[in-house]
Symmetry: C2
Subunit: 393 residues, 2 copies
């Protein structure tokens, strides 16, 4: 096995980019050097020598010496342009852009195939947890039935603070933003869209299914009130933003929603910025992987692991996709038990196949009922900001 | 990538062997068939067709059609003979025999190299948790500093029962034996020898170190008394049989011992027959993998995963070992905080560098002190059955 010497061209030098720089410096053992880093703002002060930086992306994409492009920018559209141009120019690509990968997987696969270059993206899902690599390499024979977990560190941090310190959502969000922990526009995280991107990537590597994020139901944590927190406390529940997919024959269901889980559930112990992934299979039963889901070094180390794998010519084989049952499809026909809290009145009980509990009071009202995922996702009442839903696991 | 069609010759048809048979039947997707199974007792009733069975090992080892030998017997010496003969005959080998692998790794590596055949053994460490594969494939660039965890399902089952149900050691052990869960001679498990074998295998794949189990300190759970359990309860500790190795420069320390851990420690939530592995590294920080560490199907699925990997010509690259610092060595010079419970008197306080707490009473006595691992392992008083020690993490 001969090891390749890699020359890296990096796009973006934010949190993950600087993390990668740090781990690359400290690790030493990986045969890779940064040649050039393309950034947007030339004038920003940088922690390393100015000679590395350029604002001209062609300087990286057209440099024949650079054999790996590491794409670490936010903008999914610009990222796709960079990544596709890099592949067309015969360069291997490492990316952490979950939005781009989730939304444009068919095009990316085609590019990879046409130009015969590896395209790796372990850092795009749950940062330091090597979930893609494990789905690719280890769980290929196992009869996987479900992958679920906490795929977003920011919201898990917020929820942990809310439950542990009894602080309400707007206060924790403000604290997280002040600490630079949550984005100034936190929508992708708190509305459960970011974990949905990751779920799409997992669906591909776990089951070989290609799907669009828009086709998967998501609900966020921004409506969680003190009333909901009290309910959780009374029942001894934790609240986690859970993304989950199940395979049943040739039907896949998936969703991302806040969920009440028992304190005994292993995911209840996954706190703050940690992520956790549960793999359920016919033989090995439940497996759980826990690790930091955010932060410069944990994410940088996942990128570094991809770079290291490239020195051994590693690429995803996409075995599940290659052998996928052509009838495999995403359906939303599962029935879920849901807690619905409303402030004034609720008049859509007919959407529910059964109602288990009803509670009304001057402080707030809730009911617990079972509902089909399709009915839930098509409902109008769910758009009402005075209504909150939390799944019950 | 062309997939090989495999013909399997299996040695042993106990718990893991039948587990493998079941998962192979159910999985379907793995291109492997059992051709012959070598067993010791021809007359035992078997759940599958008699034509598969033989008591003549040559029938498997000399059959040119059989290209993979799966070794699943208990006896480490006989296992080594089978495995070495199989490799000499050009057959790939899958094994679950941790004792054999831990004790005879240099010879096995030489055989693998000389006869150019893959030798895989994921099932030998923590059953369903793909720890070897992850150490081999994913953590090769990361600056790993420590691997630790619960590597033995039987003792974790016993400890969980003792703590949760307040049942004393002899009662739980008897229950576990009656259920066929613990061996009739449980020494390897309860004295912490089995997890030490696993630790040796981990040391090789994590750090490239070859060492002998006898050089690693171990202490078991058989002396844990009601007094110790009460102490744990008062301090809100869990007790786990922890195996751990640390790397510090070119020095490695390792041990296996019962350990008090905080209820907040993620390993405290790893209960019953589950195993848990904690990987500590400079960049990704703590990572935790949890899965079933015992049982026919979880272990069978790990064996199946190795078989599946062979269809793609997978082999361990042993990268850490190939690039190992020649000065890397096992030392026992760490200092550990230890709880020592004694029934009558204790007169070896001079072995401890410091004493933190002392307690004497008519019901029992203990002290907490710090001791060098080498001093502890060389001490005579530790052999006294009326003395119990538990590490404090």
């Amino acid at each position: 096995m001969t090891k390749k010497r890699l020359k890296l061209g990096i796009f973006g030098f934010g949190c993950v980019g600087t993390g990668l720089y740090k781990v690359l410096e400290e690790a030493g053992s990986v045969e890779a050097n940064i040649k050039k880093i393309c950034i947007k703002h030339a004038d920003k002060p940088r922690p390393i020598n100015k000679k590395y930086f350029t604002t001209d992306k062609e300087e990286l994409l057209l440099d024949p010496e650079i054999n790996v492009i590491v794409e670490l920018i936010d903008d999914a559209k610009a990222a796709f342009e960079i990544v596709s141009k890099a592949m067309k120019n015969g360069k291997a690509v490492v990316s952490a852009n979950k939005k781009m990968i989730a939304e444009r997987l068919p095009e990316l696969l085609k590019l990879e195939q046409t130009y015969k270059v590896p395209f790796l993206y372990e850092a795009s899902v749950c940062a330091s947890i090597p979930i893609i690599r494990n789905l690719e390499e280890y769980y290929d024979n196992d009869l996987l039935t479900s992958v679920s977990g906490i795929f977003n560190g920011s919201t898990n941090f917020i929820l942990t603070k809310m439950i542990n310190d009894h602080v309400s959502y707007p206060v924790v969000l403000k604290e997280a933003q002040e600490k630079g922990f949550a984005e100034s526009d936190p929508t992708l995280d708190v509305e459960g869209i970011d974990p949905k991107y990751k779920l799409c990537i997992i669906l591909f590597h776990a089951f070989g299914l290609i799907t669009q994020p828009k086709d998967i139901f998501n609900f966020g944590i921004s409506r969680i009130s003190d009333f909901d927190l009290n309910f959780a406390q009374q029942r001894n529940y934790a609240i986690k933003l859970i993304a989950k997919c199940n395979k049943n024959g040739n039907e896949i269901t998936g969703f991302c929603a806040p969920t009440f889980i028992e304190k005994e559930d292993p995911l209840a112990h996954v706190k703050y910025e940690y992520n956790g992934v549960v793999l359920e299979s016919a033989f090995s039963e439940n497996q759980l992987m826990i690790g930091k889901g955010a932060g410069d070094k944990p994410t940088g180390s996942a990128v570094l692991s991809d770079i290291s794998a490239l020195t051994y010519d590693y690429k995803y084989e996409n075995k599940k996709y290659k052998h996928v049952d052509k009838n495999l499809k995403l359906v939303n026909n599962g029935t879920y038990k849901v807690y619905v809290r409303y402030n004034d009145t609720f008049s859509n009980f007919e959407d529910f196949s059964s109602i288990e509990e009803k509670f009304t009071s001057p402080y707030g009202n809730y009911f617990i009922g079972s509902i089909n995922l399709e009915t839930l996702s098509q409902s109008q009442w769910i758009k009402n900001k005075n209504i909150n839903i939390i799944f019950i696991s």
